[in-house]
């Protein structure tokens, strides 16, 4: 059954007075990767904590794998993996011991710590104490720990934060492998390229509210502006830049005019990026 892995309805969480998550509703289909984006303090981590049963919704509800997370968190928790935003490993234990402890708690039969550590690029360092790990190595171990129980849903709160480009790419590969296996992925990140590349759909949250949720393609269509950027020679012999917004009625005329009037040196089209949309939505656009 390709049902919904996560159904949030009017989900709300308050820290005392502060509304961190404000009546959000969305669904994540089984096997889908949902990228969850938003500025600092928008409520991403709080949403993850509510969806994983760490915080109790103040209003609304979250049905995760068909179970009301507020009613039976432990039953849900047995089937999900969580990579926390802040590293929380047993520093005095080795990487292997960390994973084995969690595998035992999840009751995973025939758990292979070495294979999992190799997947996140920690082969050869299995027996080292975590306190001797670098920040990035700890982060990779955090991702590995979220995978010990072969979760049906993976909640990853900024999993590539602090990783070098190669390690980050490796983690992205792991995320795609997990999806291949059938897992649903709820991914928060500040890396727009990453969100664009990995996500089936992207949700933007700002001040506790979901302000946009769609496929990257549709979002770009809707909010992004594609443009032609040209370099032309100026009368004094230098270079000047010209920009023409695409996908508008007047675009064609503007292009003709450019070539008619100016001496064009280079021209290329600029695709809309999630970054633009992010700024558009959170900076000036929707929230004002």
């Amino acid at each position: 059954m390709a049902g919904d892995a996560i159904v949030a309805e009017d989900l709300t969480y308050r820290y005392d007075e502060l509304v961190a998550v404000d009546h959000i509703s969305f669904k994540v289909a089984e096997g889908e990767i949902l990228g969850f984006l938003g500025p600092n303090g928008a409520g991403k981590s709080t949403t993850v904590k509510v969806l994983t049963g760490q915080l109790q919704p103040r209003e609304g509800q979250a049905i995760v794998l068909g179970i009301d997370i507020a009613r039976d968190p432990e039953k849900v928790q047995a089937q999900i993996g969580v990579c926390f935003e802040i590293t929380n490993l047993y520093e005095k234990m080795s990487a292997e011991e960390n994973l084995k402890l969690f595998a035992r708690l999840f009751g995973v039969p025939r758990f292979d710590a070495g294979a999992l550590l190799a997947r996140v690029g920690l082969a050869g360092r299995e027996r080292d104490r975590v306190e001797e790990y670098s920040k990035g190595m700890k982060q990779r171990l955090m991702v590995a720990r979220a995978l010990v129980n072969r979760p049906r849903i993976l909640f990853l709160d900024e999993p590539t934060d602090g990783l070098d480009p190669a390690s980050a790419e490796n983690i992205r590969k792991v995320i795609l492998e997990e999806r291949q296996r059938g897992a649903t992925v709820f991914l928060t990140t500040h890396d727009m390229m990453e969100a664009d590349k990995l996500s089936d759909r992207v949700g933007f949250i700002n001040q506790g509210k979901i302000v946009a949720l769609d496929t990257p393609h549709n979002l770009k269509q809707q909010y992004g502006k594609r443009a032609l950027r040209a370099q032309v020679t100026s009368p004094d012999g230098g270079l000047e830049s010209r920009e023409i917004t695409m996908d508008k009625p007047e675009t064609a005329g503007a292009v003709q005019e450019l070539f008619g009037r100016e001496k064009v040196v280079t021209i290329h089209s600029e695709e809309a990026s999630l970054e633009d949309i992010f700024i558009n939505i959170t900076g000036r656009g929707l929230t004002e």
Partner: protein
């Protein structure tokens, strides 16, 4: 509640928590205290209890006393010599056997012996000696016989020996410190390092996590309690009962430790709290130490119901009926505390504090 998961967590606590500073302190401190005490009062690995006999006839008991392995026996020529020996503390107890003693007891008649007790002798020694003499008389008579023992205490009767006075404190320290601080620091440490939130999103419940940490406290605390009593040769005769009381004491301390750990935000505030209320744990022991203080004051403090039965059993030869009331009060206190911890473990606010 899954015992399998509690077992997993328990083994993790022992393998990785046992290197912690507090864990080591909990084990080392009572041992060091015991050794210091024994240096000062010379009781650790102390000699066997000493029994003096003055025999006005020719009793088999005299031979039995002298040949006994469990006590040191000495024979004195006259009742006066025996009396002097007891007064000086050369023996803990002395008995005067009348001329026809063996015949009297064999015939099952009421026999009378005079006993002198050194006022500063250890209570446990008196218990051992009393029991030994009673056994010997039964062996000679071949049956249970009525014997009247007229006891006279010699020397300073009021002066309870210092190591008898201090033993309650050391026993309490052995039970209470490890019992409270081992689970409390382990819990607070995991809160501070946020590993507790990682455990909390596994199928393990907070209740299971609390239980595993509490059990570590119970085990450490019980083992230390037993060890300290054995080292101080104060185990008495009622081994299972005594261990049972130590376990109850350990359970109470550990449950309280979990409560402290739940409420303390960090290790610093945990230690501050413990320091502030620590005097309350040991208060009953101080009451013992100074017999001039009205002894009922001790009963106000919950730890009284731990230490009183332990002292009663180990020092005064108490049995179940002597400690049943305290034991039931202790069990009641424990049930209330476990109830509170159970509620805390289920409270939403408690879980949310970890996120």
């Amino acid at each position: 509640m899954s015992l399998r998961r509690v077992g997993i967590l328990l083994s993790k606590e022992f393998r990785h928590g046992s290197k912690s500073f507090i864990f080591i302190i909990a084990i080392v401190m009572p041992l060091v205290l015991s050794f210091v005490l024994s240096m000062v009062f010379g009781t650790l690995f102390s000699e066997k209890p000493k029994l003096g006999v003055s025999d006005e006839g020719d009793s088999q008991i005299t031979q039995m006393v002298i040949q006994s392995d469990s006590i040191i026996g000495r024979e004195y020529d006259s009742a006066d010599a025996l009396r002097n020996a007891v007064e000086d503390g050369a023996v803990d107890m002395g008995i005067v056997l009348p001329a026809d003693f063996d015949n009297l007891v064999i015939q099952g008649e009421m026999a009378e012996i005079t006993a002198y007790v050194w006022g500063e002798s250890l209570a446990k020694n008196r218990v051992v000696l009393g029991a030994t003499v009673a056994n010997m008389i039964r062996d000679v008579a071949g049956q249970e016989v009525p014997v009247e023992i007229a006891t006279t205490t010699l020397g300073d009767a009021e002066s309870i020996p210092w190591n008898n006075r201090l033993l309650p404190l050391i026993v309490l320290m052995a039970i209470v410190f490890g019992g409270i601080m081992v689970p409390a620091t382990s819990l607070v440490d995991e809160k501070q390092k946020r590993t507790l939130s990682a455990l909390a999103i596994t199928p393990a419940s907070l209740g299971e996590i609390f239980l595993s940490k509490g059990l570590v406290g119970v085990i450490v605390s019980t083992v230390m309690g037993v060890l300290i009593l054995v080292l101080n040769q104060a185990f008495g005769a009622q081994t299972p009962l005594l261990i049972g009381m130590l376990v109850l004491g350990a359970v109470m301390a550990s449950t309280f430790g979990i409560m402290l750990g739940v409420f303390a935000k960090d290790v610093t505030s945990l230690f501050a709290t413990n320091k502030a209320i620590g005097i309350l744990y040991y208060a009953p022991a101080f009451v013992y130490m100074f017999p001039d203080i009205p002894q009922w004051i001790g009963r106000i403090f919950p730890t009284y119901y731990v230490v009183q039965p332990v002292v009663e059993i180990s020092q005064q030869g108490g049995t179940w009926s002597d400690v049943a009331l305290e034991a039931f009060i202790l069990i009641g206190l424990i049930l209330i505390m476990i109830g509170i911890v159970g509620i805390l473990a289920r409270r939403t606010a408690q879980r949310e504090a970890l996120a």
